[in-house]
Point group: C2
Chain length 323, copies 2
């Protein structure tokens, strides 16, 4: 069974609890209490699958795990409040390394004023770190993927592809003339765009998604959830000068499908674009307009990218159909 | 480093977020929004540590995992709302077994009207099931361990020691003349006392704790958190007729320190005892008065149990000092 099929098989066909607003199918789940929507998400990292001694120190494992969760909160427009840590620790794992994982979690938690409020520590064969974050947003203001409208501007924060380049440097598959530390850090200690997303609170309608699997994947998610067509401009994808030293094909591969950048992709009505730019400025967040949204019956649910003056279809995988 | 020391080392000395009410140190964590306190807890089960093919089918692994979490909600007096599932699945694990875990979760979730709202499914060497539950209680009405007062009645729901007896039957360490299925079911499919706890909502003050490590351990937690002395009567511990076929020493061992019964131990002012009994009746919950609370400076923080007309000290481990 593939993952998509599996997730569909466990998805409830309706919600039982009258506070449940959004279950499986967005960056995080949501339930409603008076005035607020509670937003919650979990992220699990397994040793040997999501990281290894070669790519991450224990400090980074903690830091990155919370970053992924905080990024989900940002993608929902929610203010993170607190987190729980469930950890499976192998018997031979050192106390120092275990403390370092918490040190990593703590370092990022402090920056965002979120509290470690609970968890579970158990013994097992393989290190597994599972972090659940809770946050809140004013009732009805969560930033779902299906909130795009025709005419919206597509924007993205930061630069794309750096984390993937950093990982490949760590795995010795790649070398660079300069900026190796920068790229590696982008993989190990990504910056969740929580403050920026929080500054967008005054915008009535906004669709957001965080880039965990590559912008090709997340743009397709937005297009499918909103049943609209996205047109991106390849020339406008924001790339760091560090990434630009790679061959052009690799720049595109990393930036379209590299993933784990934990930047945000969003869709907003042009009349609110100024507010988005202001929020970016106030929070020191680089931002770029990279495309637009159209309602084209025959293409809705798909993403197209402009390359050499023609639009070609962009698959979720990052694969681009050649004409 | 022992677990206690470790938990203390990661415990924050203060809360950063002004909505955080209770972090590490009770059955679940709590944060406050207008009108409601949100209660959240996580429980993690590891194959080979918390269960095995010999003791649980995949269905039971799911069922029991959610039961443990719902029991934490009951122990906080909270109404469970929804849950998230993080699961690490070995490559060779069958799809059927995986579905059965979710079937177990789902079966209990349906009974309590809680929704599966999210999660994470990843590959690893060993099956790890980590379930996070969210619930809510009216602001200020969570049932913390430190809410005992002198003169309170100590009560307990259901019967004690059955789950431990059932586990030992499964492990072939024990055999019984009758009721093996009953005892085994008490281990595999415990009954979280959610409805009963919810019916106690009108009682102004109430301390609750769920029995996951044995009543000796949980009673000591209450005594320590509230800085008072608990006196229990060994003759009043509620035991099932199935447990009573064991030698007396084993009955006591299982009921005091067997654990995983997921019954509730509580402390309530005598004037509210009638309301507790009414709630028990309305929800078909067996209930027994088993002791009382005193303020005895030299003994506060400890638990004493009456055996042969004398009170002897009851350690958290269930160990009883011989006179």
């Amino acid at each position: 069974m593939n993952e998509f099929k599996f997730i569909n098989s466990i998805k409830q066909s309706y919600y039982r609890n009258n506070t449940t607003i959004k279950g499986i199918g967005d960056d995080a789940a949501v339930f409603r209490l008076p005035y607020h929507d509670i937003v919650t998400s979990v992220d699990t990292l397994v040793d040997g699958i999501h990281f290894s001694k070669e790519t991450m120190k224990p400090f980074h494992v903690g830091y990155r795990s919370l970053a992924a969760n905080l990024s989900d909160m940002a993608a929902m427009g929610a203010n993170p409040i607190s987190y729980l840590v469930s950890i499976v620790v192998p018997k031979n794992y050192s106390n120092y390394d275990l403390q370092e994982i918490y040190h990593g979690l703590e370092t990022l938690a402090k920056k965002h004023q979120v509290d470690l409020i609970g968890g579970d520590t158990v013994t097992g064969e393989q290190l597994v770190l599972s972090v659940t974050v809770n946050g809140a947003v004013l009732a009805g203001k969560a930033r779902y993927r299906d909130l795009m409208r025709p005419g919206d501007i597509i924007f993205v924060t930061g630069t794309l592809g750096d984390a993937a380049a950093g990982l490949n440097i760590l795995l010795d598959k790649q070398s660079v003339d300069f900026g190796a530390d920068y790229l590696i850090n982008r993989h190990r200690m990504p910056t969740p765009r929580v403050e920026f997303a929080s500054q967008l609170a005054n915008i009535e309608r906004l669709a957001l998604n965080d880039i965990s699997d590559g912008i090709a994947s997340e743009a397709n998610e937005l297009a499918q959830a909103s049943r609209l067509t996205i047109y991106l401009d390849e020339g406008k994808l924001p790339l760091s000068k560090e990434l630009k030293q790679f061959p052009r094909a690799q720049q595109l591969d990393y930036s379209l499908s590299g993933g784990e950048d934990f930047e945000l992709i969003g869709a907003v009505s042009p009349e609110y674009w100024r507010l988005v730019r202001d929020a970016a400025e106030q929070t020191n967040t680089p931002i770029a307009k990279i495309g637009e949204v159209k309602d084209e019956l025959k293409n809705n649910g798909t993403v197209w990218i402009k390359r050499n003056e023609t639009y070609i279809k962009l698959q979720s995988s990052g694969y681009v159909h050649k004409n």
